[in-house]
Amino acid sequence: MTAPTFAQDLDVASDANQYLTFQLGDQEYGLEILAVQEIKGLSAITRMPNTPMHVKGVTNLRGAVVPILDLRVRFGLAEREYDRFTVFIIATVGSKVVGLVVDAVEDVIDLAPDAIQPTPELASALGGAYVRGIAHVGERLVALLDIEKIVSGDLALLDAA
């Protein structure tokens, strides 16, 4: 009866509980790593008419036209000039691909499901509605984001594929 053990091993070794963490101001956020396709430096953004402020425009990702969302603006933080340290996290949500602008990418952390606490009643400044849970990593406090909630409303026909 080795099969179940093997499967469990696989489960533990998989990325299911890994999160990519990044900075917005002095706050730290985490994004499920399975949703992250790649991390990319700043590239030319083409502005689009009739879009909310946090949708910065579209960029060319190897031939695909990908919208760029500024998480600072989305969360109501002060906007920041883009510079050569600005990072795009390219994420996949359902069948769609989006770029998220963040200040800096931190690292990848492992989180057991029971290490994640439910979201406390937060002020919206922290983007409370988009936070799926909170994790304490040593001294650090990481807010785990719900990417689907963040981009829903921006992306049409967001199918849960």
Binding site: A44, P49, K96
Partner: protein, 682 residues
Amino acid sequence: MSHETDPFAEFSEAFFEEAAEHVATVEDGLLRLDAGTLGVEGMHGVFRAVHSIKGLAATLGFGEVAAFTHEFESVLDRLRSGTMVSTPALAQLLLRSNDTLKTLLDASRAGRASSVPVAEETAALKAVLHGTNTGAPTATTAAVDATDVATGPRQYSIRFLPRPGLFATGQDPMLVVRELAELGDEVSVVCETTRLPAIDALDPEQCYLIWVVKVTTTAARDVIEQAFMFIEDDCEYSLRDVTDDPSRAGVAAFAPTLKQVAAAAVGDPKPVAAEATSIRVPTDKVDALVDLVGELVISQAMVNQIATTFDLGRLKELQDALASLDRSTRDLQERVMSVRMLPVATVFNRFPRLVRDVSGKIGKKVRLELQGAETELDKGMIERIGDPLTHLVRNAIDHGLETPADRLAAGKSDTGTVMLRAFHEGGTVVIEVSDDGRGLNTGRIREKAITNGLIRADEVLSDDELHALIFAPGFSTAAQVSDLSGRGVGMDVVKRNVEGMSGSVAVASTPGQGSRVRIRLPLTLAILDGLIVGVGGASYVLPLLSVVESLRPNPRDVRTILGDGEVLVVRGESLPFVRLHSVFGHPTATTEPSQAIVVIAETDGRRFGLMVDDVLGQQQVVIKNLEANYRKLDGVMGATILGDGRVSLICDIQELFRFTTTRRHAADIGATTVGAPEDIFA
């Protein structure tokens, strides 16, 4: 058998495509049979088509299809051999059978053939075969069947000697054996190995075996001989009636074995992704592609070679090589696009049947004329144009054409004509649906439009403008249809569908002489010729197809009317005028039209002026769907990537024109983004 390990999966896909073509052939043939214009050759063609489906279905294990086509084929065979005469009722039954076959094929493709009820159809076909169906000419069939009954089932012994080299031509003798075995219930198959050489002389690619099939069947000799239809040149066979042969007794014992084998082979239909689409491409198109890729590789090698030892003295050489590369790339692009092109015949073919059904139902005489069916259109559009066309043809018959009595009273022939026509015109494909019926009733359209609040009661409109109203949404609810010669029904949907393909639709009509709906489509959805314009530091692409001219207006040419709307006066004509920078919310330095460029664009025959800062150039652009990762934007039909790697938005001229009439400007559209940072460089 799981899908992954199914060695037939790729053949299955090809089979379904081929079968779809056969089904279309059969339908076409049966319609002509019904009309009495199907000759003997045509009947053979119909039979062969069904026979091919049956053979392939059996080989690939689509048992339901094979079983159903067997009955279908048997009836067709009687017709082609002349032992049965067609009647309208029989043609009707056969058309229905063909529909069932189509449904069955679709279901098999989705892996749920067993869910299709075929029992009734099968029974009806069997009834025809046995002369008990009223649909068949009773006298003839009864006579034929009487002989059948008198003689009863016969046992035949068939000796089948394939030519040794037949594998080389892709033939499979087992298909013949299997088909023979399907003719009756009592079957024995014995394989003779007398031709087998010694093992060291054996060529595994040769066929040495001989089969003797004994089958008890009611089928006529020529039906049995059909099993050899595709292999005739590659075999010898003998057919002997051995009904009274005493050795017959041993037959039954063999039967179960073979039947079981057959059952195992045809069992469990394979689940095939129904959405999987593919294109059958003529070999010459592929050959041309291969040649072009060869040229491209050579051109590229030339450029590489020059680049390694480049100095300015060789600039001319480099330019030549690049020009050749450019040409090859362009050719390649065109050819690759042509692979996606299919003749509109694939859509047109459904209409003879539709016209027959609809006209029969409402008691009108209709002649359908098809022209330009060979005109090619992008596969994606072929698939999407079917429904709008069906709608238009149905409308033309139902509402456009008068009843035979009315026609005669109007001095026309009692048979109305509906014409479907496709042709090329200036880089676009035009598809027209026209009829010689009563034409649109502008008076009633006007009344309806006033009631619906689409126009004011005192508004003066030209006939063309009135006709165009039938495309307005809300003009077409069921209650209004009967009121208004019905042309309004769903026309807004037709328009939306066509515009969804970057096309346009227009209607023309002459009272008493008929109407014509003209759909204009781009050749392809993937690439367009664009005019690149600069607006407030950004660049936009305007589809060149819609661009009439560009000019720099004199200061006096742009006038304001009633304080808000601007018009542009061009050679005495005043056109609506929009400033692209204000539509898209770009701060711009050029606010004075006489300092800017105005592009005159045309949509649906209406022209308007678009003010831009600059015209940057003209190039072919590959259309990228914004909705793939984002969503639809007002005034934008898509995006493209320019030579410098940046994304540029492609304007939707039709929507931009709407902005001119609805006075929808920066106030509604660009407000949220005004003041946002301009393009950002790394």
